[in-house]
């Protein structure tokens, strides 16, 4: 091995990396929250009885799921100024990731809703409750619980994929790391550090998500 590792320039840049970590966390957590919300709306459209709504939702979901997030972020960032909407790199990244996350979340949550036994909905109806209330108070919690692991891994994937948004100058971890790379050429050290940080971030994220899950879904099941 004729390469000598030198982590000094990487560690010297820790404030930048920290800023990158914050950027990654900020952008991915906002997109998760908005994406889940929007995803639930698309899921309801997809499952609704109205063919029009259903077609729109299916079209949206398939369009987003089958094209790369990189392209999506490009269109938001470079394309939307043409119609007069100019978003900063970070705003564009959050919007694109939200749109992306929504499509996946819609499908995952739909799986959860379909796993709810019809008896649950019937019980709500037999008690005279309205459809909206039935979804809100009876269906959602068990449905999301049923698919929570899938949802969490989608979130983690989203966090990892957020590295792609650096291409529109959204300032997240990979962005700073690559900038650092172009200044120090310590590629191995930088990528190694980056790998460790992402691994740590995904562990922390999955711990936080499972904690949230444990609190929110604390009711026992058989």
């Amino acid at each position: 091995m004729n390469y000598t590792f030198d982590f000094a320039p990487v560690f010297a840049a820790w404030p930048t990396l920290l800023e990158g970590i914050m950027g990654t966390l900020r952008m991915s957590s906002l997109s998760m929250v908005f994406g889940l919300g929007l995803g639930i709306i698309f899921m309801m459209m997809r499952m609704s009885g109205r063919p029009g709504l259903r077609t729109v939702a299916v079209g949206y979901i398939e369009l987003i799921r089958n094209t790369p997030i990189l392209v999506q972020v490009f269109f938001v960032f470079f394309g939307m100024p043409a119609i007069g909407i100019r978003l900063s790199g970070e705003q564009a990244a959050i919007l694109a990731m939200t749109l992306n996350c929504a499509a996946y979340a819609a499908e995952i949550v739909r799986g959860g809703v379909q796993s709810i036994r019809p008896g649950q909905i019937e019980a709500g109806r037999a008690l005279g409750m309205h459809t909206a209330d039935i979804y809100r108070f009876i269906v959602f919690r068990p449905a999301i619980r049923a698919v929570y692991p899938a949802l969490c891994s989608q979130f983690i994937l989203l966090m990892l994929n957020s590295s792609l948004v650096s291409s529109v100058s959204a300032e997240e971890l990979t962005y700073y790391a690559q900038t650092l790379d172009s200044q120090t050429f310590r590629s191995f050290e930088i990528y190694l550090t980056l790998g460790v940080i992402y691994l740590a971030l995904s562990q922390v994220l999955s711990a936080v998500l499972s904690l949230i899950g444990r609190v929110y879904f604390s009711y026992p099941t058989k």
Binding site: R65, I69, L160, Y191
Partner: protein
């Protein structure tokens, strides 16, 4: 003279798309086989095997594919192991794929009711046939949607092979964008091609899903 984005440029993208397809097939076959092993390890009765595969999944699910590829291709030579691009891609993509599929399939295997494998055990059927004949066919059905949606992600994820110098679809798009300076048109076309590669998959999966559900 810079070029306009036209038919010839589109063909160039298609050429790149060929690699995308090859890479996806490669990742899915090798990674799929490895993923099955990981899933079986995760559901094994030996605690040690369960722990090892759990750690494997944690590590390879928890780090971006970009970084895995970087290390296989640029890192291993530092240890004196010079690897060919295709070897590196196979290793990198398979590690990534197997971790995700392993986890998805573990879930599906565990979702097959215990009664099924108990009934097989009660009939004296050994592990291999119990899995092949009884559990896996049922797990397949359960895991199909998640598998397809991962596969669709994987197809787009192979774009990272560009780091290793392979001009696949996304990289072709970047090259074209830098020649024509019309990124929106180029990336629009790139998205379209990805869409055409992925849609048959999601479509098939929806159909198989519907058929399996009807048969239930």
């Amino acid at each position: 003279m810079i070029r306009q984005f036209g038919w010839g440029e589109f063909l160039f993208l298609l050429e790149g798309a060929r690699w995308t397809v090859v890479l996806s097939l490669l990742a899915f076959t090798v990674g799929g086989a490895l993923g099955l092993a990981v899933a079986l390890g995760r559901t094994s009765k030996w605690k040690l095997l369960r722990m090892v595969t759990a750690a494997y999944i944690q590590v390879f699910q928890g780090t971006p594919l970009l970084i895995q590829l970087f290390f296989v291709y640029f890192g291993l030579p530092l240890l004196g192991l010079k690897v060919d691009v295709w070897v590196a891609l196979t290793i990198g993509l398979s590690l990534h794929t197997s971790a995700f599929l392993g986890e998805i399939w573990r879930g599906s295997i565990q979702a097959v009711p215990d009664g099924q494998s108990e009934a097989a055990r009660a009939l004296g059927i050994g592990y291999v046939h119990r899995m092949v004949d009884v559990v896996l066919p049922q797990a397949f059905r359960i895991g199909l949607p998640a598998t397809i949606s991962f596969l669709v992600n994987l197809i787009k994820g192979t774009a990272l092979a560009a780091l290793l110098g392979l001009t696949e679809l996304t990289r072709s798009g970047q090259l074209m964008a830098n020649i024509t300076f019309q990124p929106l048109q180029v990336y629009g076309a790139v998205a379209l091609i990805y869409f055409c590669i992925c849609v048959p998959l999601t479509y098939c999966s929806a159909r198989i899903e519907r058929r399996l559900n009807a048969a239930r």
